[in-house]
Assembly symmetry: C2
Homo-oligomer: 270 residues x 2
């Protein structure tokens, strides 16, 4: 779509519904997430509408991709052991954090903030120690750790392709994770994979209520959708892995979560 012809790619709904899909099963390596989503939609009697966004927690994408690591198979390097002693973590966990990252940003109490191989900055390379056990693992195996998905923007695109084929309508996919942040306490949902919708909603050039042109308003649409979905996805034992966000309107768009990353050259906190 030509930006000059259509500067506003998104329409602001006055009402959104945020619905956790029911009956989403525990995911194992090789499972077809698109089929699971379609099943849940049927179960809930929900017919997909154009511009529906499905927010999928990174955890189930990782599980489908078999991103489990048994810590007993990990040998920590000297550097990992050194950092582990500093932060009070298992050296094998630190080893995995370093392997998943391109740079260490800060080492702090209980957390190692890194630039992940996928490009974003996050604590502990997004390693997940909860709900991280494979369904078929022996009781005496592990502890298990779940790595982030291999290529979440691509996974979002293929999930979207499969769901659009099944449903016949244009939808959006957001793959979400929970991120800690500088300055503020608590985690918030963030988009690590996006397909079908703009990651950033650029509203520069629109008039404000008094006719003054907005100069700086670019909204992190993908992250706000992830945060809204996180309110119902929960983190504990709800098993709400996929959330439908309904009410936005957008034309098919080549958005990706990578577009939400501030280049480190432009980041005074890098």
């Amino acid at each position: 779509m030509d930006q000059a012809e259509a500067p506003q790619q998104v329409t602001c709904a006055a009402r959104l519904e945020i619905v956790a899909l029911p009956g989403f099963p525990i995911v194992s390596p090789g499972d077809n997430l698109a089929a699971f989503i379609a099943q849940s939609l049927t179960l809930a009697n929900i017919r997909p509408e154009p511009s529906d966004v499905f927010v999928v927690t990174s955890k189930v994408v990782s599980r489908a991709e078999g991103r489990f690591v048994d810590l007993n198979t990990v040998i920590a390097s000297d550097r990992a052991r050194e950092i582990a002693a500093q932060v009070g973590k298992d050296a094998r966990v630190v080893e995995l954090i370093l392997r998943e990252s391109t740079a260490v940003s800060r080492i702090t109490k209980g957390a190692i903030v890194v630039r992940h191989k996928l490009g974003f900055v996050c604590a502990n390379a997004g390693l997940d120690m909860s709900n991280a056990k494979p369904k078929t693992a022996a009781d005496n195996s592990g502890p298990w750790v779940l790595l982030l998905p291999e290529a979440p923007d691509q996974t979002a695109a293929s999930l979207r392709g499969e769901l659009e084929k099944q449903t016949g309508v244009h939808i959006g996919i957001v793959i979400s994770d929970s991120f800690s942040r500088p300055f503020r306490l608590g985690t918030v949902g963030a988009a690590i994979g996006i397909s079908g919708l703009p990651a950033l909603w650029d509203r520069r050039g629109e008039p404000d209520l008094f006719g003054r042109t907005l100069e700086q308003t670019v909204t992190a649409l993908g992250d706000q959708i992830a945060a809204a979905a996180d309110l119902v996805a929960g983190q504990a034992n709800e098993g709400r892995a996929v959330v439908l966000v309904r009410g936005l309107r957008f034309a098919a768009h080549g958005g990706s979560a990578e577009q939400l990353q501030r280049p480190s050259s432009e980041d005074v906190y890098a």
Copy 2:
């Protein structure tokens, strides 16, 4: 409420509705926001339910408090002029940013990141140049700038008190602003005032799907509610100043937005 008896202060809904209240007028100094919200609810035929959260954009709180500044009345200090030359901003705007802050965190291209007097870190002290003109201002006055509300946690508490008196049910109030962030592009809604609900949703101690106890899961509930509301509030000419978030369940709680601030002593990015 005793934490030991009720560790889970919030119930995770499987479905949320996010609704912008219609017919919210342009706010002038001294206007009664609670009365405006009550009017909008009547207009939309919405009956408040227990645990409804009303998200009010900081802009209308500031307008009600008369936080307008005509830049022609501001005299820039030497320091403000120096920084202004560095970042390419109006020195009078920089002067206001410095007056609203307790410390400068970083000076970057087009933005001065500061610790605001209210305690949080944000760009340009949250100064607002759009929709910032008083309704009665002369055409040749200004340019106008709108400062953040004076004491948003207190304003949230008094708004909640008035609305609870009118409606007879326990509700929550979030006063929101749009924040830029390190590492990521685009703005997201953040809570700068909270009353009636927990700012942080502490889920430590709950079991995960496999019975492993969650150790680190504290969600920034207030910020996620603000981000969800921002999706429908918009930034331009919609005039959607108040958003209802319905579907959460929480007991009355002494939450405040201040609780979302990471103490600078614990912040490796401060």
